[in-house]
């Protein structure tokens, strides 16, 4: 348990899905997940494919609702928030990075980064957002690629844009779902470093779901999701190992 104040807590979260054919009944995915994440803490979730890692991340980010259990963010239960409050929560407090970058094909790198600011106002360029976006893109080495569209960027560059987009509203928690999954080894390493550096610099909490042992090793805590339950694991080379 971290000594820093707690940011996020999951208590007995259960989630199952119905079989697509309807013939095999309910398929349990999460079977009572308990997790606490402190401010400035980075946590890696590892586990085999289909173990429910992404589902857990979606539940933390309020993209999905648990069947049972509670998700508390700064002691406030997410299920008590209405639709508008949840949208605001995702926009202000959380930053998402997906395995696939999910950049808008018709927008430039800068516009993609600025996209979340539009959720607050129809004119996102106000209140210094654009300046911050430029700085951040400069910071991740994309200062010369501001006007490029996703199709004109490499996979690693696209993912860095996605990371910057997750940071534009200065969230407290970064959620990353296989952020290096579609990148080559060099690009993946580079992105891993970037994430670590950013969370450190900005005192962000981060939960990252990954198959990459290297990325997991760079996190403060590592947990494995197996049979619907979380267990602590040690990864060689990790800070706690």
């Amino acid at each position: 348990m971290s000594a820093a104040p707690e940011l996020l807590r999951l208590e007995g979260v259960v989630k199952s899905f119905s079989s697509t054919t309807g013939e095999r009944g309910e398929l349990p995915v999460l079977e009572g997940i308990d997790l606490a994440v402190a401010r400035n803490e980075t946590v890696a979730i590892v586990g085999p494919s289909g173990s429910g890692k992404s589902t857990m991340l979606n539940i933390i980010g309020s993209l999905e609702l648990p069947d049972r259990g509670r998700v508390l963010f700064e002691e406030r239960e997410l299920s008590s928030l209405n639709e508008q409050e949840l949208a605001e929560f995702r926009n202000r407090r959380v930053g998402f990075v997906f395995q696939h970058h999910h950049l808008l094909a018709h927008c430039s790198a800068l516009e993609n980064v600025l996209l979340p600011t539009l959720a607050q106002s129809d004119r996102g360029r106000s209140s210094g957002h654009e300046e911050r976006a430029r700085d951040l893109l400069e910071r991740v080495g994309l200062g010369g690629r501001l006007a490029h569209r996703p199709s004109e960027l490499s996979g690693g560059e696209r993912q860095r844009v996605a990371v910057v987009r997750a940071l534009i509203n200065e969230p407290d928690l970064l959620l990353a779902d296989e952020p290096t999954g579609s990148l080559d080894r060099a690009a993946a390493a580079e992105l891993g470093e970037l994430l670590a550096q950013i969370t450190d610099e900005r005192a962000l909490a981060m939960v990252v779901v990954t198959h990459s042992m290297a990325l997991a090793a760079s996190m403060q805590r590592r947990l494995e999701l197996l049979d619907g339950r979380l267990e602590s694991v040690e990864v060689p080379g990790s800070p706690g190992a």
Binding site: T20, T21, G22, S54, T55, N58, G61, L63, E64, E83, Q84, A87, E88, F89, R90, N91, R92, V94, F96, F98, H100, H102, L104, A105, H106, C107, L110, E111, L114, L115, P116, T117, L118, A119, D122, R123, G124, R125, E130, G155, R165, N169, S182
Partner: protein
């Protein structure tokens, strides 16, 4: 980065996807705007026609048979125009072409000043005529051509009066001086209607001369709308001459009041009877067929009824009272000539034989006996030929053998001494009876007095008394607002915009469904984008706004282009209505006219409908969790929610219920039982369609992945893949199915030719011929004498029975008139004749009864006049239901209500309202004779009888047609609209097959990796195309099958009904057309789809 920027970038990026959506909205908008502008065009054309017909005229005095001084016009106001308006029959000089129901107008320069456009017209010279464009067209006339007009002379005697001469028509040979266009008042008409009327204009004084009514008119036209002021001026200036009254001084210190109309009208009579300022002696002279004493007789004589008319006369002795002092109601005085001729003396019984019109309006000879009270010498009033009024056909005859009194006269009975009496004494009555006795015998609805005599010194007093006591309106002298009803009649009876929206409904629905489908594709393609927005904290409202803003812009562009194309669509429809669908509008000339507001309305409707369908699609997408959307990667399945197998048993039950209900209806309903059967069978078809679509749903849901139906063949694989997107596929099947069903089933409502016109309960009422005449027919066509006088072949006419009808001319309320009738024509009919025949089938009556025609004679609350009409006319033209009323003005200016007490089904009675003949006569006593005839005749001799009647009554402009032809002409209108519906529905179906192609393209795009893999595995393009074609061919077959089977359920019982003229040819043709069109689109889409799949997609990120 801004909201608008995001919207515009989205539009730019997905422009190719959006192109289809824009095209679909464009089609919907074009159809919407086009249909609405058709309404504008019809409305504008009708209103323009109405304005051209009425010109600047606001008010009019319509005298009909009553004539007044032309001078009265100028006395009322300088701008008031006098005219004579009568009916006529026109024929080309060689008689080759003939035109009935021509409106003949005698006019002067004042008339042309009220023209809608050209105001400097002048009447033609005497012997010349101006005709309007319509008349010139129909008779193929040009300036300089000769023309014969036969017109009805305004009659002094009401047409039905026993002494009225039969033929009062005058033939006018004229040279065409000018063809008068509508702007120059060529189309002048005070009656509503959409069709142009044939008009002939001649010089007023010239026409007055030809009709022998010098200085008289029967129409006053004014451009002033102030009816009250006009009536005030009329009341100030009218004279007795305007009431056709004449005061003249006689030789013996007496004066006489008489009327050109021979008999005083009831309003005049009641003023005279109650007049107290002067002793008035009444005179009622009648033409009798003979006076008999035993076996001795005097033929054809005048008999005069004399006596005090008012209280003053009863108290004051006069020449008349001296003569009749000893006369009671049973007594008669013979003049000395008659007494000698009959060898009669006082106390003997003398019998008078005379004609009257009986209760059933037939000319019958009656007899009445009197006791000879005395013999009077032929001196003083007893030798006054002036006691005989100017009976037409008698008064102007030089000798007895020239008599044409309007009743049968056997000239052989006239002796030389009778001729001598006529020469010596003219019409001096040979016998005298009391006024009461005379009125008892001869009084009729036309009057009961021919003259009034009084002391000459009271002439001025009586003149003033009559002017004070008489309301000119009661004699038909009143201005009425003619502009308001004419312009109200300029609106369409049916909302053509709404009608064409209805007819284009399926096309619009198909276009909107297609746009919804395309938008759905777009949303599915952008599922991950929507998920991203949600993940980034955008609210659902924002995402909805964003995508709807895109749709709004796209729909606006599509709708704007569509609105412009819609104007072309309107022109196309108007062209269709002028050519291939001309029966629908009865050859009315329609002019294109678009109101900006209508175009904007159509534009907004199209945009709103597109937004609404987009909202529905988006609602589905926004209900899906963001995580699922993010995973969709351009392949979101919106129909996926609940797209599992569901509860097949529930769907099976639903299908079974629908099919069994449909079967039940088909077994129970008799297809020949009238319009309701059509509705029930259509419902059975709709139930079948619903069941078929449910079965398709089951098939598509249960042949999907994991269900190895169809075996491991390419075709089997194709069939299985067709259920890959069951919702999408089902929507396509439903669109094709509904379209096929509507187009085929609605076509079954086409009305076939009339097969058994002699069936009493059919639309013909069992009559084989329907005839109309331009001029009134006063002869009894059922009576051998009447037939003989018209020169009809007695043998041929032996099996003919005629139900004649009186006519108050009015607006045509049949479906052949596009305009809304304001005062439909009234037919006065002897309801007993129709009741006895149990003619026509009633669909509704005011009160339940076994004898609906008898309702015409039943008194109604408030004195309303009961009327029966054709249900089609009532519903679609007059917009009246049973129990509802319509206001009319009778001949004396009194308003009355006509209340609908019954409606007959689909009949030849379209166009008018039928009221009881007796009520008709009370309301319009001077509208004599009959102008419409329902004729019972053996069907095999109908053509011969029709020709015989047309020939015999040629001068009266009689035209007969078979009732089958008449009914078929009405049916042609309905059939034309069905054709339009089918044509537009066919376009909708075409669009449906475009939708099928779109689904194919979209699905193959989503499966491009699958198809590329097939190519990589060695499939030829042809094999891939076959694979795809099998998938979508199944959808085509299902849609066509569902629609066609449902349509068969709706039409098969009709086809198999006895006597049905419908066959399956049209059905097969339509099925084939849909199949060919669908296949063509599939082949095209398959080719395009396969071309668009490069192998590179296999390695795409």
């Amino acid at each position: 980065m801004s909201f608008l920027g995001l919207v515009l970038k989205g539009l730019g990026h997905y422009r190719r996807t959006h192109l289809g959506l824009v095209a679909a909205v464009m089609i919907a908008s074009a159809t919407l705007v086009g249909a609405l502008v058709v309404g504008d065009s019809v409305g504008y054309s009708l209103m323009r026609g109405a304005l051209e017909r009425v010109g600047k005229v606001h008010s009019a005095v319509i005298g009909g048979d009553r004539l007044f001084r032309s001078e009265l016009a100028a006395q009322i106001d300088e701008s008031v125009a006098p005219a004579i308006m009568i009916n006529g029959v026109a024929s080309s000089s060689d008689g080759a072409r003939r035109l009935l129901d021509v409106q003949v107008l005698g006019v002067d320069q004042r008339f042309y000043r009220m023209a809608p456009g050209v105001l400097d017209g002048i009447p033609p010279a005497g012997g010349e005529v101006q005709v309007n464009t319509e008349m010139a067209r129909r008779l193929e006339l040009e300036v300089g051509d000769q023309l014969v007009l036969r017109v009805e002379r305004p009659s002094a005697l009401p047409r039905d009066m026993a002494l009225s001469p039969g033929d009062v028509s005058v033939a006018l040979r004229l040279r065409i001086a000018e063809v008068l266009p509508a702007e120059a008042f060529g189309d002048f008409n005070l009656r509503g209607g959409s069709s142009a009327h044939a008009n002939a204009f001649v010089d007023l004084p010239w026409l007055q001369g030809q009709l022998e009514v010098g200085g008289r008119a029967n129409l006053l036209l004014s451009a002033s709308a102030d009816v009250e002021a006009l009536d005030g001026a009329l009341a100030e200036h009218w004279t007795l001459a305007d009431a056709q009254l004449e005061l003249k001084a006689l030789d013996d210190g007496q004066s006489e009041l008489s009327t050109d109309r021979i008999f005083f009208d009831e309003p005049i009579l009641s003023v005279l009877e109650s007049y107290s300022g002067l002793a008035l002696e009444g005179i009622f002279t009648y033409f009798v067929n003979g006076l008999r004493v035993s076996d001795r007789s005097t033929p054809y004589s005048m008999v005069c009824a004399l006596g005090p008319l008012n209280q003053a006369a009863r108290q004051q002795p006069s020449a008349v009272s001296e003569l009749t002092a000893e006369l009671d109601e049973a007594g008669l005085l013979l003049n000395s000539w008659a007494a000698d001729d009959l060898d009669a003396s006082a106390g003997e019984e003398v019998t008078l034989d005379y004609y009257v019109i009986d209760a059933s309006r037939r000319l019958v000879e009656r007899s009445e006996s009197f006791e000879v009270a005395g013999i009077v010498a032929m001196e003083g009033i007893a030798d006054d030929p002036g006691l005989m009024p100017d009976f037409p056909g008698l008064a102007d005859s030089e000798n007895c053998r020239d008599w044409e009194p309007g009743t049968p006269v056997d000239l052989d009975r006239i002796r030389d001494k009778d001729e001598q009496y006529w020469d010596d004494h003219g019409g001096t009555p040979k016998a005298f009876v009391s006024l009461d006795a005379g009125r008892e015998l001869w009084a009729s609805r036309f009057g009961a007095l021919t003259a009034v005599r009084f002391a000459s010194q009271g002439e001025e007093a009586l003149r003033d008394g009559l002017r004070e006591g008489l309301d000119p309106a009661r004699l038909g002298l009143f201005f009425r607002d003619v502009r308001s009803p004419a312009l109200a009649g300029g609106s369409a009876a049916t909302d053509f915009g709404g009608l064409f929206l209805g007819l284009s409904f399926f096309l619009i629905a198909a276009a909107l469904l297609l746009s919804a489908q395309l938008f759905l594709f777009s949303v599915e393609q952008r599922g991950d984008e929507i998920g991203l927005f949600q993940a980034l904290g955008f609210s659902g409202v924002f995402v909805r706004r964003l995508l709807l803003a895109e749709v709004l812009l796209l729909a606006s562009v599509g709708a704007a282009i569509g609105a412009l194309l819609g104007l072309g669509y309107t022109r196309l429809v108007l062209w269709g209505l002028a050519t291939v669908w001309r029966d629908a509008i009865a050859s009315v000339q329609l002019e294109f006219h678009a109101q900006p507001m209508t175009v904007v309305t159509g534009f907004l409707l199209a945009v709103s409908a597109s937004l609404a369908s987009a909202c529905l699609a988006l609602r589905k997408a926004l209900g899906i969790p963001a995580s699922q959307l993010l995973r969709s990667a351009g392949g979101l399945e919106l129909e996926g929610a609940g797209a599992g197998p569901g509860q097949p048993r529930r769907w099976w039950v639903l299908a079974a219920l629908g099919l069994s209900s449909a079967l039940g209806i088909v077994l129970v309903v008799d297809p020949s039982s009238g319009p309701s059967a059509g509705g029930a069978l259509f419902a059975a078809g709709a139930l079948t369609l619903m069941s078929a679509l449910v079965l398709c749903r089951i098939l598509l849901r249960h042949s999907g992945p994991g269900r190895e139906r169809g075996g491991h063949t390419l075709i089997g694989l194709g069939f299985r893949n067709s259920s890959r997107r069951p919702g999408r596929s089902l929507a396509t099947v439903a669109l094709m199915g509904i379209g096929t069903f509507l187009v085929i089933a609605v076509g079954a409502n086409r009305l076939g030719p009339t097969l058994d016109p002699e069936e009493r309960s059919s639309g013909t009422g069992g009559f084989t011929l329907f005839a109309r005449s331009s001029l009134s027919v006063v002869h009894d066509l059922n009576d051998p004498l009447g037939r003989e006088s018209l020169g009809l072949d007695a043998a041929l006419m032996e099996e003919v029975a005629v139900v004649p009808m009186r006519v108050l001319p009015g607006d045509d309320a049949s479906c052949l008139n596009l305009a809304r009738p304001q005062a439909p024509a009234l037919y006065g009919v002897d309801s007993g004749e129709l009741s006895r025949r149990q003619a026509f089938q009633f669909v509704e009556t005011l009160t339940p009864t076994d004898d609906p025609w008898a309702l015409l004679g039943e008194p109604l609350e408030g004195g309303a006049v009961p009327a029966i009409g054709d249900v089609t006319s009532l519903t679609w033209q007059m917009h009246l239901g049973v129990g509802e009323s319509l206001s009319y003005i009778d001949e004396r200016g009194q308003g009355f209500e006509v209340r609908i007490v019954g409606a007959v089904a689909d009949s030849i009675l379209q166009g008018a309202l039928l009221i009881e003949e007796q009520r008709f006569e009370e309301l319009f006593p001077t509208l004599g004779g009959h102008r419409v005839f329902l004729i019972d005749a053996p069907i095999e001799s109908a053509p011969e009888i029709s020709a015989q009647l047309s020939r015999g009554l040629r001068d009266l402009g009689l035209a007969a047609e078979t009732t089958g032809e008449r009914l078929d002409a009405f049916h042609a209108v309905q059939n034309s609209y069905l054709t339009i519906f089918q044509a537009l529905g066919g376009l909708g179906l075409l669009l449906g097959s475009v939708g099928l192609g779109m689904v194919l393209l979209r699905n193959t795009f989503e499966r491009r990796r699958e198809l590329a893999l097939a190519t990589a595995l060695g499939f030829t393009s042809a094999r891939v195309r076959l694979w795809i074609f099998c998938e979508y061919g199944l959808l085509l077959v299902l849609g066509l099958g569902a629609g066609a089977s449902a349509a068969l359920v709706a039409i098969l019982p009709v086809i198999r009904a006895p006597g049905s003229e419908l066959d399956l040819t049209r059905f097969w043709f339509l099925c084939l057309a849909v199949a060919v069109s669908g296949t063509a689109w599939l082949l095209l889409a398959t080719r395009v789809a396969v071309q668009r799949v490069p192998l590179a997609v296999l390695s795409e990120d």
